[in-house]
Structures are given as structure tokens and as C-alpha cells.
Amino acid sequence: MNARLQKLIADAKAAWQAEQSSGRIRVRVTLDTSSIARGAEETLARLQEAAASRKIDADVGITGSWGFCWLEPCVSVRSAAGTHAVLYGNVTPDRVNELVEAIAAGRDLPSLALGVIEGNATAEIPLLEDHPFMKGQVRRLMANLGRIDPENIDHYLAHGGYEGFGKALEMDAEAIVKEVLDSGLGGRGGGGFPTGRKWDFLRNATSSPRYLICNADEGDPGAWVNRILMEGDPHLIIEGMLIAALASHADEGYIYIRYEYPLAFERMKKAVAQAYEKGLLGKDILGTGKNFELIVFLGAGSYVCGEETGLINSIDGYRGMPRIKPPFPAQAGLWNRPTNVNNVESYANAPLILRNGAQWWSSVSDAKEKGTKMFTFSGHVKQAGCIEIPFGPKVRTLLEQYGGGLSGDLPLKGFQPGGPLSGILPASDIDLPLTLDPYRERGMFLGSGGVVFFDQSACILDLCLFFLGFCEDESCGRCTTCHGGTQRAVEILRRIAAGGGRDADLENFENLIGTLVWSNCLHGQFAMTSIKTSLKTFRDEYIEHIVDKVCRAGVCKGLMPGRWARRAAPQPAAAAAS
């Protein structure tokens, strides 16, 4: 391996070892957007205060998310001897004193403990890996999350970081592409297109400079897997882009992060600055003569910039309107130069493939799709969190095992596999596997990993109104089919919800479904998916709304509440749709 990189890694490992054997208690607070929403900053401040005032002799620091988002803030405490470490959940500011007392007394706090993360289980606290939420998870992308400080490059280097890049430095571009192709890594943004093939397109491009773009514009509401990765282990993404740069002879890279993720933006920027400092980015990387510049770019609130050519236009400085393809980005992308766009998770897998080999990487999944995938789940679930599992388990596993079941006492009505364009499926499809094909067969797609579950208190037409309203708002305005079509769909849905459904409306929807597919980009083409898929499986509910003027969930205010409605008396129609 490159001698300079070897030294960086050796120094980082030595520093990590020294930190481990410092003989002090180590307290690590998960500090990410989810935990901050639950008071982690104050939890951290109180723990630091306790350490400063010598109430506890501890080294207090920060780390990324364990995925237990509904139990944030999570705090891990490692004994001074380094033989025993426990993860605690729900350490909100009002509970932190309990934990401080326990640390000061040198005992565990079983009431808040989630599990033992180092050493043996105790009589009161089982191992974390035996926690139902952790069972079946294969944490590869998330391996460092909760264990390292995301703002410290040395921590990453001490945990196998940049080793994959080191290996790639000794390979030629073709060999790197082959390794990634052999692994079977598919695009994680929802498309599943082989990542290696994309890199190969760029490698074979005829002009330069060439650009790499990391699509971190995770706009699907209900999905936050990319945020968890960027906030918890930003260097994994940088290393992935470096490997891609070697494989495709790229000169410059952009990480496009959405405006709603300010912390991810700050962490990524910090990580990139550290990588520059260590000579891992910039000119003459580690003395190899190779150059790669990396820029962290902040979006400004546009869903359609998640479409690769919309994103390219956005960096270019234009309105983020998707372009007409061809030419494809590999031919004419950023500034009309060859460009490759991949999702955060796609890049983040590259270091693992290079470090451990394609065979190891692909061995984890029995499904056609190889490797692991991160999922988040929300809606009517008890536990909204983030997990990493191999492709293949049933959707039911997400809901029952990881999501802890439904939050209310009503039965499941359906779920949305990933994003407002992905469609709506009924409860009877809960045993579909988490792979790409079954969703494609239904004219929809699995999406980028944000699954939303809903029970019988949800109204299908109201959900469609939300998704179509979202698509209307976020339409770039280029295609009349899309901006006009989504407007018509929203109008019809609002009219139905207000009690004005007409017999022709089902046909109206069919017409719109047939029309929007002629839009230029995926946004328009898939905008009607939620109506298209729910018209098939929830047709009764449409007819109830349109003909009987009944909303069984009691959500639509202009209609009579039906059997699942919790509202006692019907509201007057005058209070109808806003």
C-alpha cells in the first residue's frame, strides 16, 4: 500500500489505541439531527458539565446514530478499564442526571440500557446484538456509526478507513470497475442500475475534465438513510468517491446535499477539509500524481433536483429543471462534460467492496440484489428508526420486528415502499420481499429506503392528495403533462374530498395516468403512481368517496365518516376542503 497512506493509518490506529487505554471512562453521545430533535445537545452539555466539574472522571464525546431514532438521545458508556461498555437510550435531558449518578458510582443503569456493546452481558443487561432491533441486521455501511466521532478523520482511518482506496491506488481503472461490477452493486437511489457500468461509461468517455456527483438530495419524505450516513460516517462517502474517481479518471467531484440537512452539510464539509489536510484530496494525492477536487454543495429546497440532470442544472446555476436525455450525463453532464451521478449509498459501498473483495461483499444476500440496504420506517409504527439489512426480508419484518408493530390499535391498511413516486400497496402485500422486482412488476419501484406504514385511520384519497400535491409543488414546470396533470389530479382529489365526486372521475384518473407517463423525467412519469396503484387495490374506497360520499377513515371533511372514523359526528360540509 501507498507508504504515506500506511503511515496515516498507523498513526491513526496508535492514536485510537492510546485513547482506548487512557484509563478514563468514555461517554459517547449520539449527535445527529434525530437526536438533537430529542434534546441531545443538552444531554451532551450536561454530561460535559459533569465531567468538567469532576463529578465523573470521563472523556465525553460525540458519535453517529445507532439507528434507534425513536430512543434518542443514545449514550454509550465504556468503563475505565475498557472491558465493559453499555449503550443507553432515551437519555433525554431530564434523565441525564440518573446516568451521571450511575457513572459516578461506577455502576450500570439497567432502566435505560439497550444492551452491552463491549464485554459480556450482565445479569440485568443483555448484549445489544440480542436486542430485537439489532437481530438480523448486517451493519456494514453502519459499522462505524455509534463507535467513531464523525468529525475526526483519524477515527475513520483507525477503523479500516481509506484502506479500500489504498487498494484501488494499486489497481488500474479497469480492474476497479471489474471489482465493482463483480460485486453486483446496483444504484441505491431506486434504479438499481449496475454502479460499475456507470463508472465504465465515464471511464470510456472521450473528453475531459470529468465530473463525479454524489446525489445527497434525499428528498423522499420519510427517508433519512443518507442523512444518517453523512452525519455518522462522512468519510465513507468521500472514500467511495475517491475510488470512483480512480475508476473513471474523474477530476472533480460534487456532493449535492439538500438544504434540509444543515448538519449533514457541516459534517461533510468538515470531513472534506480534513481529507484535504491529510493529502487525500486535492493535487498529487498522497504523492501519487493523481488529482481529485471535492466540493460540498448545498441545495436550496427542490425535490426534482434529486433527478440527476436536474441536479446537474442546479450545480450549473440554472433552475433545477431535468434535462432531456439523451445526451446522458456520461456524455454531456456538468458543464456539458462527462459526468457520473450516484446515490450516497452507492458510493459508500465502494470502500467496502475494495477493502474486502467483491466476493465477500456479495455473499451476504440471497436475493438477486447483492449487498445490504439501509431502510428507515415511519408513519403509524411504534418505533421510527433506521436499519441496515441484506436485500430480501419481507416488508413485514420492517414493520413487526424493527418498527415494533403499529402504534395504534387499528389494523394495517397499507404502506408506501419509498417516496411519493413509489406508489401505495395494500396490507395484503406485506409479505413482499424487499427486493426490486416485485415492485417493478407492479409498475412502481422500491425507492431509496423510506418505508411509510399506515393503519385504517388513513384515507387513501387523502394520502394520494398529499403525494400528488407534493408532486405538483415540486414539478419543475417544463412538461405540461406533469405540471398541468398533477394540478388536475389535485383538483379532482380535492373536489372528491369536498363531496363533489363525479362518476367520470375514475376515468379522469385513468386519463391522467395515461398522460403523465409522457413527461420528460421520472418525476412526471411516476407522479401518478400512488393513484395508479391504489386505484387497483383500493378501488372500493374510491367508489365510496365518489358515489356514496363516504370517507371510511373520516379524514375527508366534506364526506360522511365511515366505519373506521374516530370522529363522533359528521362535520358540516361547509368546513370542507381547504
Binding site: T33, S34, I36, A37, R38, C69, W70, E72, E218, G219, D220, P221, G222, A223, W224, R227, I228, Y254, Y259, E260, Y261, P262, I295, F297, L298, G299, A300, G301, S302, Y303, I315, D316, G317, Y318, R319, G320, L334, W335, T376, S378, G379, H380, Q383, A384, G385, Q416, P420, G450, V452, F454, S457, A458, D462, L463, F466, F467, F470, D473, C476, S578
Partner: protein
Amino acid sequence: MAAEPGLQELRELVAEFQPGRGHVLPALHKVQRTYGWVPRAAIEAIARQLNTTPALIYGAVTFYSDFRTHPPAKFEVAWCCGPACRLRGGEAIREAIQEELGIGLDEQTPDHRFGLHVGQCNGTCHEAPQIWVNGRVRGNLTPESARDIIRSLRDGE
């Protein structure tokens, strides 16, 4: 309300940006970070600095929902419109806040102390339904607790 910055001041602010380098959004972000919004004169200053037309910059400002063309209110309330929030009663939260403030989405109270706009899901769905007050998540709301938050902010000074 702060006076609108002058053209000279704005030109200096965006002097670091260059044409053809993807600097439109970074320049607009810097202006908004500095003043809290993008004044009309900034569009002109950026266009000149980046050797392009004010129309193109204005096009970008209006395309992206996070650029403000008016000064922000003291308390900018973002109402999360995401699916988890909607399923958990987000619409009722919006109605309660709108009634409490007497304004609609993308509006400000006449005294410019409260502004209300739509927020896009940031993945803190475990706190649904929620609003963000000046970027801070206030979650697990009921219509009553949402009203209480607004009232306590209003009475807080």
C-alpha cells in the same frame, strides 16, 4: 426591520464568486446567511459578478423554495408536511397554528413576528407531527400543544 443593504455592500459580499463555476447557489446562500433573505439588489450584484443576467439569478431564486425574497419573521415556523406527520395529525396542527396566528402558509403576521411556511421532511419522523421554530424541531404535537408553543413565543418577550 433592517434596511435593505446597498449595492456596493452586496458586491463586496459576493466578490469571491466566479462565473462558470457553479457559484449561483453558493452566492445566494451567502447572501441569505448574511441578511436572512435575498434582497432585490443582491440579484443584480450576483448577476454582474457571475457575468450573467439578473433574469437567470431571479429564476433560480424563485425556483428554489428555501430562498426568501422578503425578510424573515422573528419566529419562522416551518410546518412539516411529510407523510408521517400527516398520518399522525399534521393537518390539524397546521389548522391550529393558522388559526392561532391568523395567517396562511407563506405569510407573516402584520407585526412580522411570526412567519409560517411548509417544511420538507428532514427525517425526524419519530417526532411526528412536528414544526420547526427557527430550525429547531418541536415534535409530538397536538393541536393544543402547538397553540401553546405559539402563545408562549408570543408572550415570551
